[in-house]
């Protein structure tokens, strides 16, 4: 199925906030989705010229209601300094989504009102959706206990 209404923009981090603001003013008033991808050791994605490859990519889907349209921003986030401006000022709905990205990828958002872990306990170590965070196993308790009958 082709999604003819979709539109993808690949951005540097420095252009992120101004692009979001421009789209917001154009009528993309609804934040559909905000997530992140960890492209550790994977340079296979298509980028435009002038945008350098970084480890993380923040993916923001913005939606306009009339006429219906969706635009996707893909922003490169470097590994050494994973700090992004928060878009909470434009889209209050970004609050939980940015917290989720912070929780699972370790990307910090400047000016977020309450940047704490959302899905994991506050004292959890590491960011599980990073590619270098292995799939953990919880040891099964009581597995060795012999049955009485």
């Amino acid at each position: 199925m082709s999604r003819t209404l979709s539109d993808v923009m690949v951005l540097e981090r420095s252009a992120y906030l101004s692009t979001v603001q421009a789209r917001h003013d154009e009528g993309y008033i609804y934040l559909a989705d905000l997530t992140c991808v960890d492209y550790l050791n994977n340079p296979t994605r298509d980028l435009v010229d002038g945008v350098s490859l970084e480890r993380f990519e923040l993916v923001v889907n913005l939606r306009a209601f009339a006429p219906p349209a969706i635009v996707r921003l893909r922003v490169q986030v470097p590994e050494q300094d994973p700090l992004m401006p928060s878009i909470f000022g434009f889209y209050p709905g970004a609050e939980a989504m940015e917290r989720e990205v912070f929780d699972l990828f370790g990307i910090r958002f400047e000016d977020h009102p309450d940047l704490t872990r959302i899905l994991l306990p506050e004292d959890w170590e590491g960011h599980p959706l990073r590619k270098d965070y292995g799939v953990g196993r919880v040891p099964v308790q009581f597995k060795e206990v012999k049955r009485n009958r």
Partner: protein, 450 residues
């Protein structure tokens, strides 16, 4: 917007949607929420509690009568394990904060280690009240990268199943809402009626809930013989019973006292907070992905978008009740128009061959073996596909690196995003109304804590 829009009709004399607060000078109305500008809302300091989750006990009882109490995570009305920190003064809720994550299942991480065939089973565990919608969005995302053509019948079957699932999910919501508001009969009726839909799913896919019926490249099996009669019997019964529900709850004074004017959310707030589904529509925004950005064959179907006028708990109830009737009408049209033909894509790289072919053809055996050991290979790329699940915009962002497993699969859970509007709805209301408001958001915790 050009589409026909029905507004939920409210009985005469129902204009109690401003917030009213008891003060030392008598009742004071706080004014309509729609006067709040979007910029003021963007800060929204007033409704969301911004203190760390561990500190709820420390605040304790203070001198000015304010205190922080925790509702849940094991409260019967939180629809799973949801904890809400509420700052209350007397019985008025000032600020609140939903605390999620008690169920965190790591579906997105798990999906990176499963093939696309196993992936559909994985995603049904998220929103366990509408598993077929989850499968659908996962498959649509994979297919948009794969670029294959589906037979018409497969798409119509998918529509039939996802609409039936919407009916089952909304009936289930009516049941749990009835339970939260003390209507035991509604709870029992809802569960009873949902079971009819589930038994049709069981007949079709073999399982009641975690169906794994919609798969990449089509559906797992054709509909059973005589499915038209089964489905007609189910929707006729449920349609008759929606009138019973109407009689049982809509006009009932106790129900109306508890929901009318409670938990109001203005259209500006709903859009700013990224709310979707019945919550957004109840606030008066006529946005339905089936209508505005059609997927499957929804552009060939005639149906209406239900919108509310006030955005209170009553509107969210009414929108869902009317959506059941719209879905029934959609199902009727699907029954009339269901074409014959194959129900899976005929591409051997995607669809396993029929069992009989394996005995005859070496090629078929090889394809079968490759598909079930290694899985489908999907070309590199990324796509975001969104569908209208019973709870709102269910999106799937999928990245493939060309292997047989998704490089990254992200689900935009409508419950997760909708929960953000809970503090705004609860703000200024009574503690006793919190149960009704939480129920009207219809959160499924499996989807919140993916």
């Amino acid at each position: 917007m050009t589409n026909a829009i029905y507004t939920v009709i409210r009985p005469e004399g129902d204009n109690r949607f401003g917030l009213v607060q008891e003060t030392s000078e008598g009742l004071q109305e706080l004014g309509d929420r729609s006067t709040t500008s979007a910029a003021a809302l963007a800060k929204e300091i007033g409704s969301t509690l911004r203190i760390p989750e561990g500190e709820a006990e420390l605040e304790g009882d203070s001198d000015d009568g304010r205190m922080i109490i925790n509702m849940g995570p094991q409260h019967p009305s939180t629809h799973g394990v949801l904890r809400i920190m509420l700052e209350i003064e007397g019985e008025t809720v000032l600020r609140s904060k939903p605390v999620v994550g008690y169920l965190h299942t790591g579906m997105e991480k798990t999906a990176e280690n499963l093939t696309y065939l196993q992936g559909t089973t994985n995603v049904t565990r998220m929103d366990y009240l509408s598993p077929l919608n989850n499968e659908l969005v996962f498959c649509l995302a994979a297919e948009s990268l794969l670029g294959i053509e589906l037979p018409e019948r497969a798409t119509w079957i998918r529509m039939l199943m996802s609409e039936l699932n919407r009916i089952a999910s909304h009936v289930m919501w009516l049941a749990t809402n009835g339970m939260d508001l003390g209507s035991t009969s509604m709870m029992i009726f809802g569960f009873r009626d949902r079971e009819m839909v589930l038994s049709f799913f069981e007949k079709t896919s073999g399982l009641r809930m975690n169906n794994n019926y919609i798969r990449v490249g089509g559906v797992a099996a054709d509909l059973p013989d005589g499915w038209e009669d089964d489905v007609t019997a189910v929707i006729d019964t449920i349609e008759a019973r929606t009138h019973d529900y109407d009689e049982l709850i809509t006009g009932q004074p106790i129900f109306r006292e508890r929901v009318v004017g409670v938990g109001t959310l203005s259209p500006q707030e709903a859009v700013a907070l990224s709310a979707s589904g019945p919550i957004l529509r109840a606030s008066g925004v006529p946005w339905d992905l089936r209508k505005e950005m059609p997927y499957l064959f929804y552009d060939q179907i005639d149906f209406d978008v239900i919108v509310g006028s006030v955005g209170d708990t009553y509107d969210r109830y009414a929108v869902r009740l009317f959506e059941i009737r719209e879905s029934i009408s959609i199902v009727r049209q699907i029954i009339d128009r269901m074409p014959r033909g194959p129900y899976r894509a005929l591409d051997p790289k995607v669809t396993p061959p029929p069992r009989a072919r394996i005995d005859e053809s070496m090629e078929a055996l090889i394809h079968h073996f490759k598909l079930f050991t290694e899985g489908i290979r999907i070309p590199p790329g990324e796509s975001y596909v969104a569908i209208e699940s019973p709870r709102g915009e269910l999106g799937c962002y999928m990245v493939s690196d060309g292997s047989a497993r998704p490089f990254r699969m992200h689900i935009r859970g409508p419950s997760f995003v909708n929960l953000q509007s809970l503090p705004v709805m609860l703000h200024g209301g009574l503690l006793a109304d919190a149960v009704a408001v939480i129920s009207s958001v219809d959160p499924v915790m499996g989807e919140v804590d993916r």
